[in-house]
Every structure is written in C-alpha cells, then in structure tokens.
C-alpha cells in the first residue's frame, strides 16, 4: 500500500505537486492519471525517495522509502526505460542491481525469461528498441519480487502488441495481490487497465475513485438526432432549454435531454426523425473537461461546430 499525505514539491516559485493526498491499495491496478506536466513523474520520484518533498510525506506499507531495508525487495519501479547505460549488456545491468540488494544471480535469468529477453541478454542495451527497453525496465522492477510496483507511462510509444502485453502483465501482478501504480495521460488506456484511478491536474488531486465510478460520473450523456427538419427541431429543443449543437453532417447533438423527451417533442410537432441515438460521452472528453483548467501548457484548439 502507498499512502501520500499532503505531498508537496516546489521548484522555486513553481508548485509541481500541491498538497497531494491519496492511497494506493494492494490487489488492484491503480491508474495515476493526469495531463502532461501534472506532476505524475515528480510524485513517483518522491515515492521512491529520489526527490525530496518540500512538504508532506509518502509512505510505503507505513515506512518512508529511505527506511526500507534493501528496497528493491519491497518496491520495484520503472520510471524511465532509458535509464540504462547503452554500452552495458542487459544482463550486466540487472546483475549490478541484483547484487546491490543481495539478490541471487539466478534471479537475473528468471526475470529476463519472464519478460522474454533471454536471447538478447548479452547484447548492449543501447541497441534495444523501445519495446525491448521497456521489457528490460520491467525486468529490473521485478528483480526483488516486490509487493509494490510503480510504472511511469509504461505504454508510451509502444505498438499495440506491446501495450496489450504490458496491460495484461500489470493486471497479472495486481491479481497476485501486489500494489500496482501506473501513470498515464491517456484515460482510454487507463479505463481498460486500472480498477482505481487517482486523477491529478497541476499537481492537485482532482479525484480518487474506482474507474467505473469515475467514468460514469464524468462522462456527459448526449443524444444524437438526424432529421430532415433539423433546423425546426433544433429551435424547439433550444426553446425547451436544452443545449443543441449542429454537427458538420447536419445532425444534432443534444445535451441535457433524454431520447424519450426528444422523440415526444418531435412527434408532437410532426418532425420526421431518421436517427435518435443516446451517446456515451467519450472518456477523452470527460478527461479534458475535468482537467481542462489544469493543463499547464494549453494548445489553442480550433472551435468545431457551433
């Protein structure tokens, strides 16, 4: 279990992580979600004792990272797959890590096998593809058979096969009863990977809940309507106080109304409907809505529709 209490990190005047409190439970994959620059990596570095919090603390099973004896046996982490000397072989990289925490040399071969790198173990890690580097990083995280695992954006830049492998791998680790915290800026990815979500924006906690709860609470329900009399229907719906958006193909997207109500209104005024379909708002939209104010670097989005 990971427990952050009032965790804060300031760089000069910039506040990267602001009074962040959350818990990560064992036996589940917890997604750590936020836009780029939200403070996810900084938080993970503080969990690992690499960065010193300006205030607050973070505990792993009740202890700070620095208090752990031979910490690779308790916490495994993959923060950056490129943290490997490019001229060192994959095996040598794992060997020194294993040695430092008193892990037997055969454990190196076991984890290499686990991630499928046995054949390339003697090759220099600098020549690895991103997917292979990620696997090597995961092998390093698993060396000490830890109860707690941290992964920072593990699927970034991977092909679909690699993404699927990592996703299933993390779910397997959680199913073993381990605590798994995985950061991402992609809600769609987390929705299929994580059971719990810790969502942050600009260093602050936005929500902590189960993934289902988060998705239900935050997605906006709309109804898509196609009609040869779209203009007339649209005006009537606006009169009723619903929000109506006309899309490029001439269909209407209505917010705030159930499909039944729209059907009744259309029937009452003799408007022909070609389509009347309730839509689940996309996860990405929900995420944008929630974190929209807390994105550090805004790109100007061109307005579409009306």
């Amino acid at each position: 279990m990971i427990e952050a209490v009032g965790l804060t990190k300031r760089y000069g005047k910039t506040v990267a992580v602001d009074n962040l409190s959350f818990t990560v439970e064992p036996g589940r994959v917890t997604g750590f979600l936020g836009p780029n620059g939200a403070g996810k990596s900084t938080t993970m570095r503080m969990i690992l004792g690499l960065d010193r919090p300006s205030a607050g603390k973070v505990l792993i099973d009740g202890k700070s990272y620095g208090q752990l004896d031979r910490p690779l046996r308790t916490v495994g982490a993959l923060l950056d797959a490129k943290w490997v000397h490019p001229n060192r072989s994959a095996r040598a990289h794992l060997q020194w890590m294993a040695k430092s925490n008193g892990l037997p040399a055969k454990r190196v071969d076991e984890v290499l096998d686990l991630v499928g790198l046995t054949k390339v173990a003697k090759r220099r890690a600098g020549g690895f593809s991103l997917g292979m580097s990620q696997r090597l990083g995961i092998a390093g995280a698993l060396l000490g058979d830890p109860k707690v695992l941290l992964f920072d954006e593990p699927v970034n830049g991977l092909d679909p096969e690699g993404i699927l492998w990592i996703r299933q791998f993390m779910q397997g680790l959680a199913a073993d009863g381990r605590t798994v915290l995985v950061s991402s800026h992609l809600l769609s990815e987390m929705a299929v990977t994580a059971q719990d979500l810790v969502v942050i924006g600009r260093g602050r906690l936005i929500s902590q809940s189960s993934t289902t709860e988060f998705v239900e609470r935050s997605t906006e329900n709309t109804v898509r309507v196609r009609s040869p009399h779209a203009d007339k229907l649209g005006a009537m719906l606006v009169d009723k106080g619903f929000t109506v958006r006309e899309d490029e193909d001439g269909s209407l997207t209505v917010t705030g109304a159930a499909s039944d109500e729209i059907g009744d209104i259309a029937a009452a005024s003799g408007v022909v409907l070609h389509e009347l379909s309730p839509q689940r708002g996309s996860l990405e939209q929900a995420f944008m809505q929630l974190t929209g104010d807390s994105v550090e670097y805004h790109a100007e989005l061109a307005e579409t529709g009306k």
Partner: protein, 253 residues
C-alpha cells in the same frame, strides 16, 4: 562489500574505463620511451623516467569523472539510489573501487616507464632505486593517481556533466595553474599553492643530489616537503569529495 562488487560490475561492464586505463598507461610509458631512447651523454636519472606521469594522471582523472557523470548522463544514478537510498554508501564504494584501480594503473605506469627506461637508456647507472626518495619518485605516482581520481570523482558528482567535469579538470590543471603565475606581484605566491603544482613536488621534489645537476631537474616549487605536498593535494581532493557527498545527499537525484 556487496556495494564494492556492484561498483566493480558497473565499471567493468562498459568499455570506456578499459580504454582510459590503456590510454593512461600508453601515454605515460610511450612518452617515457621516447625520452629514454633519446637520452644521450649523461646517465638517465630516475626523475627522467617518471617525467611524463601527468599525461596518465589526466587520463585517469577523466576515467574517474566519467564513472560518476555517465551515471547521471544515462540515469543509472537513479537506479543506484533506488537500490541504496542512503546514497552515501554507493558513492563511497565507487570511490574505493575507482581509487584502487587508479592507484594500480599509476603504479603500472610508473614502474612500466621506469623499467622501459632501464632497457632503452644508453646509460642506466643512475636509474637504480636505491634511496627512499628514488622510491617516492616512482611509487608515489600510484598515490597521486588515486588521490587525483578522488578529486575527479568529487568534481564529477558536483558537476554531473561529462563535458563540464572534464573541462574543469583539464582547464584548471593545464591552463589556470600556469596562467596564475602571470598575475603581477602575487602570481607566484598563488601558483605555489595550486594543487597540481604542489603535487609535482611530491614526485619531483628533493632528488638525490647525484641524480640531477643543481637547478636542472623538472620544476618542484612549493613551501611544503614532498610528503607534505602530497598531504596537501590529497586533502584538497578529500575536501571536494566530501562536499560532493553532502550535495549528492541533499540534492534531488
């Protein structure tokens, strides 16, 4: 002990330390060979055989700086501190391994140079190591290499960038220490306390009178005795190294 093994694995599982050690040996011994082969007329003194030690010293200091800066360059320092969160013990282990290795390379370079001079010089009657001073001229190079490596480790850990650390070491040793002497009035007084100038006296200072005619040997300036000179150099190296430990402990990795 396990941390020493960790640092040994790290150092020897990449190629640059091997190249640096070969280069340190090759440059020192090679230049000595040229000197020895061209030594005519008079018997070659012990000092002549070790005159080129600074070439190897700078290369070994680059190796030591690299041992730290590449860890920062490639992020393995973070894995190191993840594995050993107290941070100080792996840095000390690294210093022990790198200093031992540097000391051995220093001894190999010194005795290699001396042995080759013995073979190549026309007249090697003065080359025998008969006095304590003779031994210091040669074996002392091992100590200087080890202390220099410690200094380079400290600078490397403070600066964290290979180019920065190597430039500081080379520019200071090769340029600054010579240029300060040009400052009017006080230049000479400053120069004689410059660490690489001082450590020269440990190697070249107080030769036995028979070996070198008065005033003809390599420069050995400074206020301290030869061993005092070494203590001064090693003290500076240790001080900078300890400062680097404090900084590494406090700084975000």
């Amino acid at each position: 002990m396990t941390l020493l093994a960790v640092e040994r694995i790290k150092l020897f599982s990449t190629r640059s330390p091997w190249w640096c050690m070969l280069l340190a040996l090759g440059s020192t011994i090679g230049i000595t060979a040229i000197i020895a082969a061209n030594w005519d007329g008079a018997p070659m003194p012990v000092l002549g055989a070790v005159f080129s030690y600074t070439f190897g010293l700078f290369v070994i200091m680059v190796m030591a700086a690299l041992a730290v800066t590449t860890e920062y360059r490639f992020g393995t320092i973070k894995s190191t501190f993840q594995a050993v969160p107290d941070r100080v013990s792996p840095m000390i282990a690294k210093a022990v391994v790198v200093m031992l290795l540097s000391g051995l390379v220093g001894l190999a370079a010194a005795f290699g140079s001396w042995g080759l001079s013995w073979v190549l010089a026309d007249d090697n009657s003065d080359l025998a190591l008969t006095t304590a001073n003779d031994w210091r001229h040669v074996a002392g190079i091992g100590l200087v290499f080890a202390a220099g490596a410690l200094l380079a480790l400290g600078i490397g850990a403070l600066v964290r960038h290979t180019a920065g650390a190597v430039s500081i070491i080379l520019v200071f040793a090769l340029v600054v220490e010579n240029v300060v002497a040009l400052i009017p009035n006080i230049g000479d007084d400053i120069q004689k306390w410059m660490p690489f100038t001082v450590v020269n006296k440990f190697i070249f200072g107080d030769p036995d009178p028979s070996a070198i005619p008065e005033g003809a040997g390599p420069p050995a300036i400074g206020e301290l005795s030869p061993w005092g000179s070494f203590a001064y150099f090693a003290g500076i190296a240790l001080a900078i190294y300890i400062i680097s430990l404090v900084v590494v402990k406090r700084r975000d990795a």
